[in-house]
Symmetry: D3
Subunit: 182 residues, 6 copies
């Protein structure tokens, strides 16, 4: 039943406005038991010169890259061992925690640590979840690992889950859980 | 910079309106790079008799229990092995998947499965994350396990993460990853 | 799909606000092919001291008596031949036109005209229709007449329709068509 | 004094928006005794991608043909005895009731019934009234009949009124009253 | 904290909307102790055919010349003794009051009166203030006078202040105070 | 024609909301040539818990004392030579400039300066003007002085004008012009 109206400075693309509308709808549904068909979102656009905050005209804030896409791009770079590309997605003080509480700051350290554990690993994803919180967005992804053990024997179907904190388009940390022998 | 206004039928408590305001703020922040101080949310309340959808007056939808609270209440009941209480939080076709792809529908089966694994286990939580998605809310919680092995030896500091799907106030499924020996 | 919001000075009763909401819904439905469930009306009430037009605070306009009720009260008074009561519903220059283009200003003239036509007449109503137009509201009612002819023979089931123009709560004119022998 | 704002998906022509504004004004005037100059209607248009109901973007509902125009087109076809054209305006279970409670479903039956009553008839209209109700729109028109009796003698100035129920652009029924000899 | 939204018929230029936004911001700040950054103004534009008052579509009111600019133009014409140009800014019943309560209607009378007082005078302005009041705008300007006494001796740094009432783009009156020997 | 709606946290008295409405009306009138009767202001109040800026609930800003009232209270204290009371209205770095460019910071200095000029002086006011500007409010008042010269001779009808800058409820400066012999 709630009607949500957003006053937005004009200039955002369709995709941003659709995405905003969906997320606002989800926020309402998570809070009150309204029938889905009763939740309306309308975005009312005004010219930059028709908007003032604190007596100053404002330009629209940039649309943000979807946090889940940032995570996907990082994971894809890691999978093909392109550490230079992967590094571009990381905040300066990025930290990773892997099973057994193994903790790394540099991607090279992770690679060194994993060498005795498996030759390579691929991830197939069941889902990505985005949580919009007070201090940034948290992205979860989970699914199955496949790859080869150090002796060349293949494996597959091993459960994993990753948790990333994303801020300003950069990955702040990564936490990993899986069913590999720790 | 966006201004979000919500038309709501009056009758919700302060906590519900605050919670809705925070979630709408987070949804905006996740989508456009607006300065936090420029995001305004105002909830405008109207009388039930001042609201009509489809020519029919509407009553406010019930406030929903916070999904994270539902999860916490379930985990707490499980920790004290109060299966009857725990069961009240479950949807009819609730499923659990544990490390090693062990899958259960009934809580008793989980208990039987865990008996040779540990005498008891306690969870300390680092965080709860809520993702408001198209088909319901996903709740994540993660932290450390402590307890006793079957031989009475204590353990602690073992990493875990749980993922719950929550719909209509009931838990639909639970997925568990941890660093225990599978 | 349209969302209609009305800013109203507070003080109107539930019935007035419901009636306003229904009529606004009907006006939208008559104009665009929106699904009924997608038409929302919300009435936002403000304090009289929170409303100014032309730099002057305003009091809420009085709720208007339903035009159909005014017509019903008049017809009921006429049926029991209480001309004094009936007259209170009429504007000063009220005019009636009956079958055969018989036209009257005074109720007494109508009574005199009808005397050779029937001893008495009762109306049973199938429906009342209200049309909200630029210059006032038009009320239609139609149904069946029953009564007695001058010779005492009863009659029934004779079709009739009345059309009233209503302005400022008074009847401005009445037009009558029916299947009586003119 | 009321201010009515409508959120509409952009794409409707000037005529539709003007018509909607007039009808909303009339609905307000019929309900509260506001001075005409104090009734404001503003239609705020949003892009289709800026509107979501139930998490789904919507396209604007089609503008509806004015019910009075549909009635006029039907009456015009009947007057020139173009039954094929007239039939296109009728719903499948269209029914007509004429003076004397004569009832027809097929236009041919009406034509047969009228043959011994008059050679032809023309209508001049005094007014069309539209009532927007819960179950559709009712259109009234009234005025004077002229034509020729079966013996070729002309007549004119005979009062009539028609009542049509219109739904989804089709005529559902027609009720006729007039001062012709039944 | 207040959010001010204005429904305006589209067609005003950026400068008019910016000016309106600034003035509305100032009006809010003068009334409630809101932090400046918390005052939002958004102007929502609608098509002329999407706006009706009193059931009549409206065209946007003309933007008004800034009253301070009108005053400046008049003072500039007076300074260069272009009485014809200066006169175009005056309402028909324009009145001036100068120190010593000297009062004039015609610019020529002022010129005659000033001749024994100074050969010429120039104004340098410290500030222009505009007060938007119930009956029009009042413009104040103040600063320093410089010029020559009748004997040709120069003077400068003499304080002055002028007060103009402006209505419909014309000057209605002028009041002058200064530190010249009256 | 513009419709101005203000979202305000509830808690302000009638006088504050009326004052805000009038000032917003004046700001609109000064900018676009709308007919006065077409300018609507409506203040929509929301609960403090229904308002969030930057994810934080806000309390309503205090209503501000009318700047003109602050000026009046100061002038009244000065007229009765209650310097202690007068001083409570002054900001720390308050400055006064009197005819002849006499400038003071302390009220005692003004009193000493005026002693050879007049025994006492009273002001009668023709008008107070308030200008709401970017950096605070400017208050003007003007009218006539009466009193006694040092030799006891009375005077009256001498024109004066004062200009005050007011910030945070304190007087920041005062500028005085009048027709007294400087």
């Amino acid at each position: 039943m709630p009607v949500v109206r957003v006053t937005l400075i004009e200039g955002y693309g369709d995709e941003v406005r659709s995405s905003l509308s969906r997320r606002l709808t989800d926020a309402v549904r998570a809070t009150v038991a309204a029938p889905l068909d009763g939740i309306i979102v309308a975005i009312e656009e005004v010219k930059p010169t028709s908007y003032m905050r604190g007596r100053v005209s404002r330009m629209p804030g940039k649309p943000l890259p979807t946090p889940a896409e940032t995570v996907q791009a990082f994971l894809s770079a890691m999978e093909r061992r392109d550490l230079a590309a992967a590094r571009t997605f990381l905040a300066d003080d990025f930290r990773m925690i892997f099973p057994g509480s193994a903790e790394f700051g540099a991607l090279e350290d992770l690679v060194a640590w994993s060498r005795p554990r498996y030759r390579f690993v691929k991830k197939s994803y069941e889902a990505f979840d985005e949580c919009f919180g007070e201090t940034g967005t948290v992205v979860y992804c989970f699914g199955k690992l496949s790859g080869e053990w150090p002796d060349g024997e293949p494996f597959e179907g091993i459960r994993f889950i990753d948790r990333f904190t994303v801020g300003d388009g950069k990955l702040l940390d990564q936490k990993v859980w899986n069913d590999l022998r720790a």
